[in-house]
């Protein structure tokens, strides 16, 4: 009995344990050196990551409020991996930061929130998980305490997310009013295509869209990404987004199964808008983080396309893509974070001539961008191809062609950065940066992931076998 609570909730327990360890360290009187702390925390996170693969017990707890299965464990492991990588790339920035422990406490609690969110079988848990993964993030966005942009970003984030969750709550309240239950499994059978249900669905979709940065609910994204510390931006763009997409799939495929004709079309509209607007804005950005923000918006449009397949393949492809996206985006953010932490430069123009001074970092960034653009032999190609393929299964070729053409635009802006790095001349290029061990490790893992994930089809097969569609 107790064993069940331990094992099913294992991932959460581990996180809570780490959070409390950190809390004790914080409360304790001993002064730790930042570097020691960082190394030990990263070690803990590594342990956490490894532990994620053992003693996983699928099960349902609290009358189905919480459930976990192998797929969810996998998703949590992906998030754990992302967390570990984010933690590694945050090293140069955190090394000098006063509130390092708080950073970890907050970020791990948001991860905890996400874990609960993706395991939720009940709207309440889902809502709480969502809030737990949002509110501390807004605080984290403000962690560059002296920077104007940072607090602006935090403010925009907290207000927007409050608004969005208020609307979503309104939806949930009517959902409750209409069905009388908050459990996903029961909801699935009780929802039919009446106007009230669709209204509820639209509100909830709005909430999801907000978190996933789907146009036109995306507007906070760019500003927050730009203003927040790079590590937080990386976290937002990868982990937070992946987590919400995981639960979004569950909600779409189970709770709103009956509204499929409507939501397919909604997703179509939103995805088209998202891809287009994301791309159009991305081509005119100069700030690296902002640029990656818009590019990640466009990526979500593609994920929606893959998701629209409503098939086992589609689900597999989305998760597979997110894994690849995690590697690619974190590799890019790793470089940006390092450069930003050591030189304070974040603009694409600053990266001109980067290759002359930092060949390794340039290659990491370039390969990451290629992967994001979906160019072989990087894994991004496989990810994107499978996504679009699972979308194509429905035969909506307008969407496919649109997505395919937009890949050209996205290709342009990724190459623009590559061009700046490799081809453009610059009299004052960024000086040669010593890459500390931890970020180097992160980049190595990411590179390995970018290069290998595509070829190792067993990853895809494994995800496929886990998907319980």
């Amino acid at each position: 009995m107790l064993n069940e609570y331990l094992q099913v909730l294992k991932s959460e327990w581990l996180l809570i344990a780490i959070i409390f360890i950190l809390l004790f360290i914080k409360v304790g009187s001993k002064e730790w050196k930042n570097e020691t702390l960082l190394y030990s925390i990263n070690f803990l996170l590594l342990l956490n990551l490894i532990a994620g693969y053992f003693y996983n017990l699928p099960g349902s707890l609290f009358n189905g409020m919480y459930f976990s299965n192998d797929l969810i464990f996998l998703q949590k492991n992906i998030l754990n991996l992302g967390m570990y990588l984010v933690s590694l790339i945050a090293y140069p920035w955190l090394k000098e930061h006063k509130h390092l422990l708080e950073f970890y406490i907050l970020i791990l609690s948001t991860l905890l929130g996400m874990f609960f969110m993706i395991s939720s079988g009940n709207m309440l848990i889902f809502y709480l998980g969502l809030e737990l993964s949002t509110i501390p993030l807004a605080a984290l966005a403000n962690f560059d305490l002296e920077k104007r942009k940072s607090s602006e970003a935090a403010f925009k984030m907290i207000i927007s997310s409050a608004f969005s969750s208020a609307l979503m709550l309104l939806g949930i309240s009517f959902l409750y009013g209409v069905t009388g239950t908050l459990f996903f499994s029961e909801l699935a059978t009780l929802i039919h295509g009446g106007p009230m249900e669709i209204f509820v669905f639209i509100l909830i979709l709005g909430g999801f869209s907000f978190k996933m940065s789907v146009v036109p609910f995306h507007l906070w994204t760019a500003d927050v990404y730009e203003g927040a510390p790079v590590a937080v931006t990386a976290y937002l763009s990868v982990i937070s987004k992946s987590a919400i997409l995981f639960i979004f799939m569950t909600v779409m495929f189970t709770v709103f199964r009956n509204l499929e004709p409507q939501w397919y079309f909604m997703i179509f509209l939103l995805s088209v808008l998202t891809i287009l607007i994301g791309n159009l804005f991305a081509i005119r950005q100069n700030n690296m983080k902002r640029f990656l923000a818009f590019s990640s918006i466009a990526q979500v449009g593609f994920v929606l396309l893959g998701l629209s397949g409503v098939s086992k393949i589609g689900m597999t492809s989305v998760i597979y893509f997110l894994l690849i996206y995690l590697f690619s985006n974190l590799a890019a953010f790793g470089v940006v974070a390092l450069v930003s932490a050591t030189t304070g430069k974040e603009n694409i123009d600053d990266f001109k001539g980067f290759y002359k001074t930092n060949p390794f970092l340039s290659w990491v960034l370039a390969i990451a961008l290629f992967s994001l653009a979906g160019v072989p032999p990087t894994a991004g190609f496989f990810g994107k191809f499978f996504l679009i393929m699972s979308g194509a299964e429905r035969g909506n070729y307008v969407w496919i062609i649109f997505a395919a053409l937009n890949m050209i635009i996205s290709f342009y802006y990724y190459l623009r950065v590559v061009k700046a790095i490799f081809m453009d001349q610059n009299e004052t290029p960024i000086k040669t940066i010593m890459v500390p061990a931890l970020p180097k490790l992160a980049m190595a893992i990411c590179l390995l992931g970018i290069i290998c994930t595509g070829f190792l089809s067993w990853i895809y097969d494994a995800i496929f076998n886990l998907c319980n569609f």
């Binding site: 501390p136 403000n142 602006e152 970003a153 608004f163 309240s173 009517f174 409750y176 500003d223």
Partner: protein, 104 residues
């Protein structure tokens, strides 16, 4: 009490919600924006409570939801106010129009 139909309570909450929405859209002071959000959350709470009481009295889902929402509203308000204060330190203003440095 039973003479008041559920819909009237829902009308009330709807009105309150959109008052909050209006406030959020138009208020230029960040703190008042936050206040508008509180109004919206409260209106949702009314919904939950009303549904629970009128339609699904055998369980307490709505009531519990309300309690959690109230708590979250508190937490959210706290963090938001902290952020606003921090922002005030750097911007010396809590006019939302001034916090628009990042755009396009």
């Amino acid at each position: 009490m039973s003479e008041i139909p559920l819909t009237h309570i829902l009308f009330l909450s709807t009105g309150l919600f959109f008052i909050g929405v209006y406030g959020l859209f138009t208020r230029r002071n960040m703190i008042t924006m936050l206040m508008s959000v509180e109004l919206m959350l409260n209106s949702v709470n009314i919904n939950f409570v009303a549904f629970n009481k009128y339609l699904y009295p055998e369980k307490l889902d709505g009531i519990f939801f309300t309690i959690f929402v109230i708590t979250i509203a508190a937490a959210e308000a706290a963090v938001a106010i902290a952020i606003i204060i921090n922002l005030y330190r750097s911007h010396h203003s809590i006019d939302v129009e001034d916090a628009s440095e990042m755009k396009y």
